[in-house]
Symmetry: C2
Subunit: 421 residues, 2 copies
Amino acid sequence: MRCDVVAVGTELLLGQIVDTNSSWLGEQLAAAGIDSCLQVKVGDNQARIVAALQSVLRDADAVIVCGGLGPTHDDITRESIAEVMGTTLEMDDVIADRIARMFASRNRKMSENNLRQAMVPRGASVIEQKRGTAPGLICPVGDKVIYAVPGVPYELHEMFERAILPDLLARSGEPRKIASRVLRTWGESESGLNERLQPIIDELDRAGNPTLAFLASGWEGIKVRLTARGADDASVRALLDSWAERVRAVVPEVVFGYDTDTMESVVLDMLRAQGLTIGVAESVTGGLVAGRLTATPGSSDVMRGGVVAYASDVKFDVLGVPRGPVISEDTARAMAVGVCKTVGSSVGLALTGVAGPAEQEGAKVGTLCIAVALPAGGESGATSQLVASSTTVMLPGDRKTMRELAVISALNYLRQLLLGS
Amino acid sequence: MRCDVVAVGTELLLGQIVDTNSSWLGEQLAAAGIDSCLQVKVGDNQARIVAALQSVLRDADAVIVCGGLGPTHDDITRESIAEVMGTTLEMDDVIADRIARMFASRNRKMSENNLRQAMVPRGASVIEQKRGTAPGLICPVGDKVIYAVPGVPYELHEMFERAILPDLLARSGEPRKIASRVLRTWGESESGLNERLQPIIDELDRAGNPTLAFLASGWEGIKVRLTARGADDASVRALLDSWAERVRAVVPEVVFGYDTDTMESVVLDMLRAQGLTIGVAESVTGGLVAGRLTATPGSSDVMRGGVVAYASDVKFDVLGVPRGPVISEDTARAMAVGVCKTVGSSVGLALTGVAGPAEQEGAKVGTLCIAVALPAGGESGATSQLVASSTTVMLPGDRKTMRELAVISALNYLRQLLLGS
């Protein structure tokens, strides 16, 4: 089964928008075991859209065309598909009615243009719109098919998963259920993961189901994605459960979560479960750790706040760090203890280091000292004794990369200590 | 003149890498007045690469093919181009020698594979490599041309600007010098900018030089880019100077900088010029404003630090905010004054608001209160009296978007006050 992609929009060719839709579709298709061999961007020009569709359909079994389904004059994907099908467009009254009611419910006047979105090539079936105004289309061309979806990513994603992928799987004779599980990792390079997981990868290559892919995701770590197909949800889930556990068992120390977990959500959940609150003292990251913890909705029951101690005097005067050099684990530990007192938290996390461009106090660019202050004996009262731990790591990259890697490194260090506490 | 793009690499089709190269090239070509009507992604498969090149060359005058020039077996762009040219590859001794010396100078053993990168189709000329090991190629096909460049973005950018664009401009008979200027804006929507600048846009559309484009860039604001062509650097610069000033004069209050300026670099420069230092007190943004100010190298002479006052108690106890509701301009002003005292800065910037998911104290999601404390009479001594100003804005978007827009909104509010001080 081969399904190519045509992305429509002059703004894509002009580089005003990067075409992430075809990348996303390529990823989903590959995970489902469907080949995608050619992906084309073409402008809002009917002759060129028609030529692109005809050319792609010569070799592929199916094509997904993204964009050009809106209400304006530029949106000519419908007309182009009708031309390829050798048919004409007709008004679909159900869609027209839905669009009219949508405008009415928002007290907005509907211009005639909007009814363009209710035009459907004869012989096509409609993918009902759940999120926007333009429906998708399933358009048979002989024994092949053109799927049309809006270019808005969240509308496209929803229609692909709900209607297009099941239709493709049915046409390919593949089992109809498909699902993925992502293992979130930090602390091992992509090549290191690849090497350690090689026996499993070889086994999966032979079996072909589930598939396994690595997705390097910057300061989100490296994602290991398993995608399984099966006859029903239960068998797919069973496959994912068993292979996810096999992968985890090979690299247990680097797997911090699954699917929608993030490093910060995992850390916040662990703190919450242990009845702890947190304060953050940051020098080199200048607020990014606190910014990331507070990105999580509901963090306010655990996250008290923090001190950005960028100038050395702020470390000394606000956090009570003894005067002296500041790129050291001693300083980081004093910051971690200090911030607990300043913001009234039971746990303190502190970072000091050198992001560059120049070295500082003789410490090289990339140096990061992390410290965590935890209640002695695991007590959570604000008045209990604190025990500070610390470590130093060397991080690669430019200023921006070093600071981002510092954030996840520090949160992971805290996670490891919380696991042990 | 029409120049299309073929991006080569199975990893692009699998969505492991998003093809930003063709978007970047499309943007550069459009700015230079060259059309790009079709952009294709194809895998590491010689028959498909050849078919894509032949198909594109039927309509375009030139094609840039990105990627597939590396040393490994998968890298078959050279062979594919030779097939399209109807010729064979031959070893270029100069390139081979350069690659061998590069390995020797790094004390690394060169595998034979690497000499694949010295193979050149007969009749092609070489674009010398300045950054990587693979050279680029200029390959005539009748009166048309295929340019081959590595897929590594910074190698591609350098070769495009140094060799490909000048060659394209020479072929098109256009003047050979080209340069851009970006006006950085905040505070007006893209459609609002478009409307206010319409007379200038119409004039430029008629003249064709310079070109003007809008680039919406999230919490970096909206960029207005002018690109001018001319016979020499001086005439290009004169064109950019005069049109940039015309654009600025229409929307003077929203232009905060040019080219590599950022909102934070502009604010830091203004503070530095006025002999001021800054502290930041953040609730809703949880450290992101401080994180962004400290992203700028050299910020440490102006940026003292900040307090992330996420829990209300931290606002009361650390910043001295009077107890009571916290989503208010009163609280923001007290935070701004408080943080000056806490971190010893002459200026304080504070944010409090509601990022969602739920409303808070009756204030809707998207509410942002910003306050700035400045020394009275513009004095910069830490002991001088502070005067606090504040404003409330409503921001759109989900939690992440609201927080990001809050950061640039707050910095821009500070910028406006510093302009007046």
